[in-house]
Symmetry: C2
Subunit: 367 residues, 2 copies
Amino acid sequence: MGQSITLANLNDFIRGAAILGTGGGGDPYLGRLMLQQELREVSGVELLPLSALPDDAFAVSVASMGAPTVFVEKVPNAEATVRAVREVEARLGRRIDAVIPLEAGGINATLPLVVAAQMGVPVVDADGMGRAFPELQMTSFNIKGVRLCPLVTADDHGNTVLYDTVDAAAGERLARAVCVRMGGIAQIALYPMTGREAKASATPGTVSMAIELGEAVVQARLRNLDRCEAVAEYFRGRSPSRFAAVLFDGKVVDVRRETKDGFTVGRLVLEGSGPSGERMEISFQNEFTMARCGGEVRAIVPDLICALDRETGEPVTTEALRYGQRLKILGVSADPIMRGPEAIAVVGPAAFGLSEPFEPIEALQPR
Amino acid sequence: MGQSITLANLNDFIRGAAILGTGGGGDPYLGRLMLQQELREVSGVELLPLSALPDDAFAVSVASMGAPTVFVEKVPNAEATVRAVREVEARLGRRIDAVIPLEAGGINATLPLVVAAQMGVPVVDADGMGRAFPELQMTSFNIKGVRLCPLVTADDHGNTVLYDTVDAAAGERLARAVCVRMGGIAQIALYPMTGREAKASATPGTVSMAIELGEAVVQARLRNLDRCEAVAEYFRGRSPSRFAAVLFDGKVVDVRRETKDGFTVGRLVLEGSGPSGERMEISFQNEFTMARCGGEVRAIVPDLICALDRETGEPVTTEALRYGQRLKILGVSADPIMRGPEAIAVVGPAAFGLSEPFEPIEALQPR
């Protein structure tokens, strides 16, 4: 028996998931509302350690697909998500034993808990990336050979669309077009897999990690420590081989953002508080993708770039960025499963249209 | 036992289907090539009169979805269409007994014959509109309450997408987006129905009508009669209540055309050969939608507007329009099933973004 998500640790979880959202995944407040309502009706949602998932169990991922700028106006719909899961079940002739999160970050970290509560199954304490990414093929599941399809998109009106594509990239391309026509957001069920496949492809422990990340911020507040440093320290403490550090401390002086082809894309410029007036520029596609200082790359996907309020340590998502915000930018090395050559082909800079090559964040810092 | 389509009447059928295509449906030459190849392997494709379809038979429509401008470069794929039909069969747990054409015009009049030949089933001598229309909900099937879904789109690469939507308009909207992402053309299977439903909703006799229309042009050539008048006469002779007449005779002086959102849209201007220099302007969305002279509407959807070469009587499709062509514009009243108030809501001018109201073509001619 693993942990549970309950009303007691809800806020920690939501905050931690927003940190792992690396700027994407939508307003954490919405995820909190969704899950809070659900947790008032059930005592808690059981987290099943990845290692405890039986080899022959059947799990599926769920998510809200679309631009976070749209989520703000149109809250993800759990009922439609359950409908999408039922379609996958019907297609494969099998009932699910668990929900396995697609993303560790943002609303898509919360939605699996709501769906699992409604369907009466546990949530696997793992996900498909150890962070958030904007496209469906950008997962360790896909990198390790789990099929995306049958993929189902569903909307609030009762429309469902089921995809059977030759690869995950084709599924993303077709479903994104439908998502746009569904109003910029679609509820999806995807990556149906066995327990054996999950254990070979998922990033373990990321749901409980979100809870602990959120707790680390609270602990830092109680002890009046630097919240952002505390977050970095948590990452390093959890996995000593992991790089995690505050890369920049500054004020937002420019934000350009548009909702385009089903994504929130743009760039952010921060000006340092020191006398040198150094600037950091960060590009994003739902999530932050690359951070540069004076033309030099300091962090690039799949490594994590997180924006935290410099005083409170609260994560700031890309659609909530505003002129004048004081932020600390945290850089964290991605889970090793996301850094191999086969992973870089799927989630590396080129997948985001960036011409800069991937370099590990630990090699990009000034000495 | 009804007629068959064989190598002997292939050319007549293709020409007649292009006339009924009302400018849409793509280059008839491609349809001829597809069907010719198939007819070399089978002796003929059986046409089943609509009345001979048993009530409990199971039929499905097939089509190429997309902009005719794209069809020219990317020939509709019969194998993918069969795959789409198989998906519908699997979804409903039933094998088809016949293919029922969606459209009487263009490549989509030909494709059902190719698919039926490959699947070893007859083609019902009927269709869902008695002409061609650009959108999936624009059918007598839908007008009479047959469900569009399960609808399947398939591409050349092996991707299939299955839709279950609340209404036909939602199916069109979502599938159109996928069609664009599939490269501007998708093979589809749609409107699965029983024989009883077919008899209550289809436009009967339109496949054999295409053969006879094509024959009428040939007969006029043999007798050195006006080919375009002969086509009009055929329509009137087949159904005495039907209006059919040459509305304009002139030269193409302007064509504007673009491929937009999965359609070929634009307008055509003709200048009359007489001394008055009268002009006709015709708008189109895949098919011709409205013809005007000096600002006065002379024909409007769902009535048929056909462009024929003034000398040969060969139909000219919207993607083949060129400056300098000499054309006669034929206007034909739509099948009565397409003119009722419930039909006008689905296939009338407003459905094409036209602000002019529907008026029957017979009421629009100068006295």
